[in-house]
Symmetry: C2
Subunit: 199 residues, 2 copies
């Protein structure tokens, strides 16, 4: 546009950078935020800053948390003998929604992907192996997405962990192949947990 109001243009540009938001959508969001009462806009901005300041990785499972340990690792009622390995903190949220899993998690923060130049050393595999050393862990469940990278990462980890005499299992294919774990419904996820098989 020929004339632009700089602070508004900047706000639109910020929204445009978000995934799945186009130019029109960014404009709509920017005008919406601009139309908010002052305090609501301040709350929004603070939520962004606060999340960035306070959220870090749990020192045990690498999930996101605002304390030293994440809520799952802090919970004494969880079974520390079973570790569910996931790609992403969103996958933990999905599993917690089933209300059936009583073990703990390990968040890899990515998958091995030679195409994108992501090797094992960029994931939290070192931290996972360290957790397996104390003999407390009986089973590691591979719950990476059923994609090429997810399978490859699961196979890689299985080969690392099996020599340590720990059972390694994989989610059953109740989850639709090629789909995205984050969008699976609770029942499907629970069936997948139940039918897990040894790798």
């Amino acid at each position: 546009m020929a004339y632009s109001v700089l602070p508004l243009t900047r706000l639109i540009e910020q929204f445009e950078k978000l995934p799945g938001v186009g130019r029109k959508g960014a404009q709509r969001l920017a005008f919406h935020v601009l139309g908010l009462p002052k305090q609501k806009a301040v709350d929004f901005a603070n939520a962004i800053l606060e999340a960035h300041e306070k959220i870090k990785k749990c020192s045990v499972c690498q999930n996101l948390t605002d304390a030293e340990l994440c809520p799952v690792c802090m919970d004494g009622g969880r079974d520390r003998g079973v570790i569910c390995v996931v790609e992403d903190p969103r996958d933990v949220i999905a599993f917690e929604r089933t209300r059936e899993y009583k073990g703990v998690y390990h968040v890899l923060h990515g998958l091995i992907s030679p195409m994108e130049g992501i090797g094992p050393e960029q994931l939290t595999i070192k931290e996972l192996i360290a957790r397996l050393g104390d003999g407390e862990v009986k089973e590691v469940i591979m719950a990476t997405n059923p994609t090429v990278e997810g399978e490859a990462t699961a196979m890689y980890l299985a080969r690392l962990i099996k020599p340590m005499d720990i059972k390694v299992t994989r989610l059953a294919y109740g989850i639709p192949v090629g789909g995205n774990l984050e969008y699976a419904d609770e029942v499907t996820l629970f069936r997948a947990l139940e039918g897990r098989s040894e790798l």
Copy 2:
């Protein structure tokens, strides 16, 4: 979810309040923002705060601006004899994209809508009438959306302005009836400007 990390939940909730963003979408946006480098997140938050602090209404046309006058009203090359009346600042952006309109604007910031309890006194109609008093204005173009509220507002304004001996015109129906002005393409908008008819 059973366990929640408060700053993250708060951020997701903020995104969920945006128009057209659901729970999954909000989660995706929140994790995206969380994954940004610190400085980018600060930039995002500041863009929201800055827009809210600096953007106000142009004292002449009521469009959004970060100065006393908006860029259009400040431009000496614009024809102050023609005023294009629009509902929304986004409509100004749409007209400016045609690069054909040389007059100025007046932004109503809404439409008369008894259903939503919006009467003429909540719009910037008082300010529009004040602008018409100096005899400089030759024509007022009604460019409200071709909806029931848009038509009603245009008719209401036409009845107010005509006795002042000023030509009142309406955009031609080049714009699709029932559609939204904001999404019209440049050519359609230009045709609509060209074919405008007297009310």
